[in-house]
């Protein structure tokens, strides 16, 4: 059974139909990159996977539990699904360390001491151990995003969702964030990444998905999608971004 099974997913905002009929399976340990023009629905699709957007129709089954049926406790599913946002969304009133410790301690999953050790370990992993006591506003965008990744990892998620994690960064900081993500992929994390970084998608993704106008137009291994796109719309899009 796939880790995540999405079937017939539809999402509308009032009269605007953003996702029309999405079918997607994410296997354990797989890295999927979602590409597509702005407004194509790729971020909306990602946000449906942890119910930040409520699906209008269809099913999203994670580890055998349908998160769209409102029976289960969505907060419990979310603990296993980390999310990294375009705008980082660090909590500005807490230090870097406290940002990472917040969820494990307030959900009583770790003692304060355990959470602190975990935080320092994770900060070391993203190369920011010396920033543990800094406030988020003292960090560069790239550093903030790496803290955001560490914060998500503190819950030991099985899946990580990335919503255009490098789009708000200055060009010289994109690399440091992508490197952390690459390392994570190599460690076997299941990842779904909405991105405009075609180089990253080509190098790291097991599968690339091209979304346009609310549908998955094309999907396959990166070399196939990038070198031999079958659909006209994929070709057009790739011509514009590559």
């Amino acid at each position: 059974m796939a880790k995540i099974e999405v079937k017939n997913l539809k999402k509308s905002f009032d009269n605007l139909e953003v996702l029309k009929d999405i079918k997607l399976d994410v296997e354990e340990g797989e890295v999927i990159c979602i590409i597509g023009p702005s407004g194509s629905g790729k971020s909306t699709m990602l946000r449906c996977l942890n119910a930040l957007e409520e699906a209008t129709g269809g099913t999203i089954v994670i580890d055998g539990n349908d998160i769209t049926d409102n029976h289960g406790n969505i907060d419990l599913y979310r603990r296993n699904i980390g999310m990294v946002f375009q705008q980082f969304n660090l909590f500005p009133h807490m230090s870097v360390k406290e940002n990472i410790m917040l969820a494990p301690t307030s959900l009583k999953l770790m003692s304060k001491k355990e959470a602190e050790e975990t935080a320092l370990l994770l900060l070391d992993r993203v190369g920011l151990k010396e920033k543990a006591d800094a406030m988020p506003t003292e960090l560069s965008g790239g550093q903030q995003q790496r803290v955001a990744i560490a914060r998500a990892l503190a819950m030991h998620p099985d899946v990580m969702l990335f919503d255009e994690p490098t789009s708000a960064l200055d060009p010289e900081m994109v690399g440091e964030v992508l490197n952390v993500m690459k390392q994570l992929a190599q460690e076997g994390m299941t990842m779904v990444v909405v991105t405009h970084e075609m180089g990253f998608a080509r190098e790291v993704a097991d599968r690339v998905i091209f979304i346009d106008d609310g549908y998955i137009v094309e999907e396959g291994p990166p070399e196939e999608v990038f070198n031999n796109p079958k659909h006209e719309r994929t070709k057009n899009f790739l011509n514009m971004v590559l």
Binding site: N50, L52, D75, L76, R78, R79, I81, G82, M83, F85, Q87, N89, L90, F91, P92, H93, L102, A103, S106, L107, M135, T137, E138, A148, R151, A152, M155
Partner: protein
């Protein structure tokens, strides 16, 4: 009689009045804080019913003069229910309900001024809505709300003078009673004005200090 002599002569009564003013205001503000937080959270709730109740409450208070509210609670409610309220109780209820409604609006504004991404980030970590509110949204909102809250405290302190109309022996009413005896209305109202100004200036000073500290904490 000089203004100073007048002050010394009326000192005990003025202090009684000031005490009633300050204690009534403080108790009312404490109740208003609870009301404001509760109804403020209801104003941003997903539930239409809760939102509706809060909107009705805020609309009634904002849509009517506080003097009408005071008369309604002191004279109107006992007239209908037979339960007699003392001026102090009626005064505290009036001020609490009044300040509570305005505080609810301050709380709503503060919460809504926090970027949506903060709630989403907290929820994506598995925090319940309540936890996310408590740990992430409200601490940030409070900093933004602080100047408005202090402002509301000042308004409530001054509004307490309106309670003189239901006979509450607070500072303004005390001033009127003293003047009825000595006819020194010019000097007495200056004294009363200064007695309102002092606590308000102290309050303003404290809030500036807290704001400064919060800014340092946030960097």
């Amino acid at each position: 009689m000089s203004i100073f002599e007048l002050f010394i002569q009326s000192f005990p009564r003025l202090m009684d009045g000031l005490w009633i003013t300050l204690s009534t205001t403080l108790i009312s503000l404490a109740i208003a804080a609870v009301l404001g937080l509760t109804f403020g959270l209801m104003l941003v709730s997903n539930s239409k019913i809760l939102r509706g109740i809060a909107i009705v409450y805020v609309s009634i208070i904002r849509g009517t003069p506080i003097i009408v509210q005071a008369f309604f609670i002191y004279f109107g409610v006992p007239n209908a229910t037979g339960i007699r309220l003392t001026a102090v109780t009626a005064g505290i209820i009036t001020l609490s309900l009044n300040a509570g409604a305005y505080t609810a609006e301050i709380v709503r504004g503060g919460i809504q001024s926090i970027p949506k991404g903060q709630m989403e980030a907290a929820r994506s970590l598995g925090l319940t809505k309540t936890l996310a509110m408590r740990k992430v949204i409200l601490p940030q909102a409070l900093r933004i709300m602080l100047p408005s809250i202090v402002n509301q405290c000042i308004i409530t302190l001054k509004d307490s003078s309106i309670l003189s109309v239901i006979g509450l022996a607070e500072l303004t009413q005390t001033g009127r009673l003293i003047i009825a005896n000595n006819f020194e209305s010019f000097k007495m109202w200056i004294i009363i004005a200064i007695m309102y100004m002092i606590p308000i200036l102290i309050l303003t000073r404290i809030s500036k200090e807290i704001e400064r500290k919060l800014k340092v904490g946030q960097n």
